[in-house]
Symmetry: C2
Subunit: 212 residues, 2 copies
DNA sequence: TAGATTGTTAATCGATTAACAATC
DNA sequence: TAGATTGTTAATCGATTAACAATC
């Protein structure tokens, strides 16, 4: 593991978009230009070329890129063939929704267990997966070598849950609670900041909505 | 409405974080410095001062800002006292979760109705709100002056739903489907790009997770 | 060939951070 | 007062976009 990864987070976040778009093309489309990808996804064409160059073999002038190769290369880079297992804490509405969402399999994510501290839901099954008391998280994670934790508990409980996840060996946390989490070095957090998005939408309305 | 809004989207997205943090402080804390806010939220202190300066009256050297004023000013700027009504399309798992999430009220959002095209769910109630056939969206939106639409349908159906929303007079779209949506000028889209976040988490694991 | 398209280098843009004077 | 803290101006940084030569 000698290479520092050269791909920026921005590029990384765009890769699934390319992947989905390319997958959505009819089978007859064998080649595609960065220009047309950019037009479709409303990105700059140079940006698309730079992004693709980082994970794929490159295109041919006048012809573009081979769609199939791009799909393979992006999918391999994102390791969509490899399944990461995850645990989820907080079997409330959002937790339930994520447990039930079948789409993640396509992107190499499998949420195997949910944890909660509510006796009412412990022992039940959501989409065929068990809900367990949070005390068992550590043993489950080490037994199954699980490195991804999803936090869908209320904001006030999120840091506690985060701490338990870190102790359980979780290295990547997907945080749906509206708080910034403190984690030690080596543990990454991605905040799904719904309230921030809402602020952007709301301002647009309040301003009369003249701009794009 | 003469003023172009001077606040960047980045700042705007941070405001709810400040708001929540300030609200979480014990009542005894009357004043707070940008330095300590920054430390707590892991931001740069100058950035915090600049953000606050855009929506509030400013602080005093050595003392900091008055917590209560900050809360009022940010809340007023974000219009958390004002309720924006929204409709939601796609009463699947994610849609269900959002309909049931009680936290949005705090941020001035009320999802009043869900729409679906599945006869099995039309006519049912989710969290006390009706699920209606999508054909009725236009009349509901105009009758209730609803400007926010939430899309939680499968990716393949998202653009169609988006078009209907635009026709129904929706001006702000919160998109949970994994596609870029085409909208006319004047309609804003916020993508909640779960798959992009997942890519970031996943890469961290695949790289051995040495960095932050 | 002609020209559409790639890939690279340079310029631009916006956001973040550093430096520092003002002030309570 | 001394010094913690604000607020502003300048520097830095990273990402996006423009320009353009290379090429199939």
């Amino acid at each position: 593991m000698s290479n520092a990864n050269p791909i920026s987070t921005q590029t990384l976040r765009r890769l699934p978009t390319y992947y989905d778009y390319l997958k959505s093309l009819p089978a007859e489309v064998k080649n595609i230009s960065a220009t047309s990808i950019a037009r479709e996804l409303r990105l700059n064409d140079v940006q698309v070329r730079k992004d693709l160059a980082l994970v794929s073999g490159g295109g041919k002038p006048k012809v573009g890129y081979v769609v199939e190769h791009l799909i393979d290369d992006i999918g391999r880079y994102l390791r969509y063939d490899y399944v990461d297992r995850a645990v989820l804490a907080g079997a409330g509405n959002m937790g339930h929704a994520l447990m039930c969402y079948e789409g993640f399999a396509r992107y190499g994510l499998d949420i195997v267990t949910a944890f909660d501290n509510n006796a009412g839901v412990i022992g039940t099954y959501i989409n065929g997966k068990r809900v367990l008391p949070i005390e068992e998280m550590g043993s489950i994670c080490s037994k199954q070598d699980i490195k991804i934790g999803i936090i869908t508990v209320p904001a006030a409980a999120a840091q506690d849950v985060c701490n338990i996840m870190v102790q359980s060996g979780i290295k990547a946390i997907w945080n749906f609670a509206a708080v910034k989490l403190n984690t030690p070095k080596g543990v990454i957090v991605q905040n799904e900041d719904l309230v921030a998005s809402l602020a952007v939408l709301s301002r647009h309305l309040k301003q009369g909505g003249d701009e794009a």
